[in-house]
Symmetry: C2
Subunit: 345 residues, 2 copies
Amino acid sequence: MNATLDGDVVRAAGDARQRFHDARGYGRASGPDVTLARVEAAHLLYRGDIDSVSGMDFRAFFRDSVAGESGFAARFLVYADLRERGFYLAPARDGWPGSADGRAGDADILVFERGEKPGGPVAHRVRVVGEREELAAASLGGRTLAVVDEESEVSYFACTADGGFDGRTEYDLPAGLDADLLDDRVVCWSPPADLYESAFYGQPISGRDDADVDALQLSLVEAADLAARGAVDLDADAVIERGRAVEGERFDRRLSVYRELRDRGVVPKTGYKFGADFRTYDAVETVTDLPHSERLVRVVQPDHRFHPRELALDVRLAGGVRKGMVFALAGDDSNDYLTVERLTP
Amino acid sequence: MNATLDGDVVRAAGDARQRFHDARGYGRASGPDVTLARVEAAHLLYRGDIDSVSGMDFRAFFRDSVAGESGFAARFLVYADLRERGFYLAPARDGWPGSADGRAGDADILVFERGEKPGGPVAHRVRVVGEREELAAASLGGRTLAVVDEESEVSYFACTADGGFDGRTEYDLPAGLDADLLDDRVVCWSPPADLYESAFYGQPISGRDDADVDALQLSLVEAADLAARGAVDLDADAVIERGRAVEGERFDRRLSVYRELRDRGVVPKTGYKFGADFRTYDAVETVTDLPHSERLVRVVQPDHRFHPRELALDVRLAGGVRKGMVFALAGDDSNDYLTVERLTP
């Protein structure tokens, strides 16, 4: 069968509507014919269902489409991959199934729920990106990201505009503890055991058998938080100044997220060993019986743009240690959270 | 026992030489007395072996030392941690054991081999850094890095100035294959099966049951390498130009490392899913029977400075997927390699 290129769409007549649209969900019906987007026509050429488009074979049509549509190669690879996984899907485009009333938003491809016909409930609003394209973090909530790497493999990520925290940690804080601000950390002297054991602030310097010292080391975010709550006898502003001196304004963003999580009953501890800002515990009873930390949190600016490679690294590492990966978009007045997880559609 | 601060060292008399130096390897002997570095004196105070230094208890002496020596707190934490692990160790410092003839280099602490006395064979030349300090990649070969995170936990990394590659992959390349440069990738049409199956270049677009197309997709580095070797009929410079257009000069660095590894019989493939530039295979017989890839490679500039957090992320991820982590310092004329692995001393 031959089809015809008409502007930026491809038209097929004869039994094409029945074979491709009605039976297999390609394109949109135009009376007795079917109108295909380039990506759909390329897929039919690729399968051998269509022999040519205006005289072009797959190779010629693919070249023509890459020249004509920015990002075509990546979109084709994702389209073919999702088709192979047995979904009905449609380019997100006015007039195509599922895109009525602007419902497609900034997606590139709509994937319908398994077993549903085109135009039915949408399982994935897919954004297609090459591994070299940056992505605005704030735009990703509710999207499925399909990243095409340089060797044309596709990775999928589900993005949810929610951190998923379920804070249930309870404790009472002491007041006015004796502490020193020393370089880029704080040492709290002779603290009550509960500050570490229940509230899980700090790290004992005195935890070792051979120690003759009773002290708790606090990070600058922990100390700034405790100073603001009156638990340690330090000027909170002085601690924050020190934090800014060693970390710049990143310290303010991290502190803002730290405080909000503590307010919500979540315990954040350093995520350094995982390359993150924090690892978090929803519910700490005692440090002696510490649960698995559920999430890693990376704090970014609200206008942060992801490099897909960094996203892959963070999400893969978090998955490998059975934690969720959460990005905290720390704004001036409030913080937004974005959970990203790998997905096999 | 009381000791005395004298400039930047601490002197202890009485039975101190026998108790601390001869029996436990602290300080250096000065006739009948012992001379201690601040970090050693602080550790003896911490253990309760010394009661005071010039009237200062642990807290006062620690504060005084943090004010007097840059990075003291981190050095103390690492010193105490390594002591607890049962090693003899010494500050890397003129006159202290092991530091003769400039042998200490840029290390902060020398750790002697287990069972050896101070001044004996060195197991680790330790560089101590806080998690916020950047590190020159080129300075790390042969060092053990001790990173103190914001909550005062210590992580150790062994750094070796060698990639450890053992390339044993052999194949013949075809000549003058038909290919198109399409956007940020290349499609090679009707390639011989061995190009993918033995030499492991590219990714078949035709690997699927439903495909009616015989083609291999190549990344731009693969295509630039194959073009330079005459295997595909494309102008190598045109491919490199495209690479620079989409990646900047990073493309040249990656290509330089890619070529060198191929020359050495190593097969580099994309490391995108691991957040790296490449994953590498020492010995590929056939793709059908592909071995586990042994290493992840991140390509950096020769003057690259690591952020300890990024280092932790890369090394942890590589360890989690049972691969070595190699940094390629890609220079204008040659590439240097640095292997970094987590270590428990």
